[in-house]
Amino acid sequence: MGNRTVNKLSIQSDPELQSALLQFYEQYTTCLDDVDFDRWPTFFTPDAKYQITSRENFARGLPIAAMSCDGVGMIKDRVTALVKVLVYEPRIWRRYVSSVRIDAIEGDIIRSRGNFLLFESMMDREPQLNMLGEYVDKVLYRDGLFRFKERSCVYDNYRIQTTLFAPV
């Protein structure tokens, strides 16, 4: 993950680090946009925690989320279910990420955030903004690679539109 290596994780405002991290965030969303679901789990560490949760729950420190994965096995199962089991109207998902910023660096863990938009284009009607919010992450940087150790997709939406099928 990340085409450029970063030698030192010591300066928060290091523009090289900032740029490499943004690239990592965008590679993640384009992987999902491309429906390259076999590759999506490779963005995570084996023990990664991934959740899609509301601002309401996140701000109150409540553990329930719409999707809650503890370990890369559960992350894999989410996309396998999406491809092989779940029944839903066909659609195109497209994600936008911006405002990626580093809040802190603790050893080889980067605490970072970004804004996300998830658009949904159904097959018989117009595109709509489905979900928006903030990624709240712990990114492990090791051996020249970024991987998510923790990713919380915290949506600002009060309510999910109908059903949430897509990973964010």
Binding site: N57, I64, A66, M74, V85, E89, I160, T163, L164
Partner: protein
């Protein structure tokens, strides 16, 4: 699907009775208003929230009864009140927050600062008795007549309910003796803990959702995750029991690890079974602990506002909130107990992946009903509800629509259709 020549203006139910549902009940505005008056604002108890969400004096939680916004408050004596979130003066909302704390044991409207106690009684307002030559309110202004609309409240096992009706039976009688033991099984007096709330907004009539929760028939067919992982099976120990003349419905499902993995002539009828999909982490479909000591999963609908369910370790109250004839909200209120250890809380969160707005066995419910709405907006037809026969008795199989027929027997009586 049978086309019918009757128009919704005549509001005549098909002559066959409850083996037919006329599709205009899912789109007609007047039927929607009549349902709210008959059920939500009538002699029904509506789910409001959990007591643990309003733990301290002055705390409040916002909730909904249909399109009406209400507040649950706790006063300094520990008593729970439910009032409309609507100032008696100009209908302003008293708060825009989902939950929080009112200061000094009063609720103050932001518009003209009319001030109410936590039970909703109007206490005072600025300039009530006038000042600097302004006379204030007239002498015949009666604060009692200008208080918030206060609802009748019941609490049981840590849950809060409210009704608009003085005539509604006591809550335990409303729930009825068949469901009450299953209610008390979950809300057993142990202090509850809110684990989180997940909300969905669904662009279709709310009764498609309540029908869906009466429809064991679809479970193993639409939710292919279910047969694939043996979570329920057509040959399992499965009971769907209409109660209170079809008003509510109770499900109890015996859980057997052995049956979960069995393949036989019943599983041959299911479309998706022997695919190459194995879970990388099967703990999501594995029981953590038989916490209630009865090897059961259970759900029940307390009409019109809730489905309460326990599936493995995931405990949740689904709050069904009609917003219009063509939209409704569902909030999933997940809870545990104060004495849950860390492993149990983890299991509750893990199993919540099965349910909720993204749940492996629930995601398709709202998806499938939302895409029906355009058809019932356009066409008037009668839905044929004859799986399992024509009766309204309890069924001991998933493959029956008898609970739907029982519900519409009740619905027709209450709605005078």
């Amino acid at each position: 699907m049978l086309e019918t020549s009757s128009t919704p203006n005549t509001y005549k139910w098909p002559t066959e009775g409850v083996t037919r549902i006329p599709s205009w009940i899912y789109s007609d505005q007047e039927i929607f208003r009549r349902e709210l008056e008959t059920f939500h604002y009538g002699e029904s108890w509506n789910y409001i929230g959990l007591e643990c969400e309003i733990p301290t004096a002055g705390s409040f939680k916002r909730s909904w009864i249909g399109p009406r916004c209400v507040l649950a408050t706790r006063d300094a004596n520990g008593q729970v009140h439910v009032v409309e979130n609507r100032c008696a003066h100009r209908d302003s909302q008293l708060t825009w927050k989902e939950s929080g704390q009112f200061d000094s044991q009063v609720m103050i409207c932001p518009y003209h600062n009319w001030t109410y106690d936590l039970a909703g009684n109007l206490k005072t307002m600025p300039f009530f008795r006038g000042c600097a030559g302004n006379p204030g309110m007239p002498a015949d202004f009666d604060r009692k007549k200008n208080s918030l609309k206060q609802l009748r409240v019941a609490t049981r096992g840590g849950t809060i309910w409210a009704t608009y009706s003085e005539r509604a039976p006591d809550f335990v009688d409303f729930v009825g003796p068949e469901i009450l033991p299953w209610f008390d099984r979950l809300f057993n007096g142990k202090p509850l803990k809110l684990l989180g709330i997940a909300r969905q907004i669904v662009p279709c009539n709310w009764k498609f959702y309540t029908d869906n929760t009466h429809d064991g028939y679809h479970a193993a067919l639409l939710h292919t995750f279910i047969p694939k992982f043996g979570l329920w099976r057509p040959d399992g120990d499965y009971h769907q029991i209409p109660t209170e003349n079809g008003r509510h419905v109770l499900y109890r499902i015996g859980y057997s690890k052995e049956l979960q993995n069995t393949r036989n002539e019943v599983t041959k009828e299911l479309r998706v079974l022997e695919s190459d999909f194995k879970l990388a982490d099967p703990s999501v479909v594995t029981q953590h602990k038989d916490e209630f000591g009865d090897m059961h999963n259970s759900a029940f609908q307390i009409f019109p506002s809730t489905v309460v369910q326990q599936f493995f370790s995931s405990l949740t109250v689904r709050h069904i909130v009609p917003k219009s004839a063509i939209s409704h909200e569902i909030s999933w209120n997940f809870f545990g107990y104060e004495d849950d250890d860390a492993e149990m809380t983890k299991a509750r969160v893990r199993h919540s992946n099965l349910v909720g707005p993204s749940g492996f066995i629930s995601a398709e419910d709202t998806e499938i009903i939302a895409q029906i709405q355009p058809a019932v907006n356009e066409y008037h037809s009668n839905h044929v509800i004859e799986m399992g026969g024509k009766g309204t008795e309890a069924a001991h199989t998933m493959i029956s629509e008898s609970a739907i027929r029982a519900f519409y027997d009740f619905y027709r009586t209450e709605m005078r259709l």
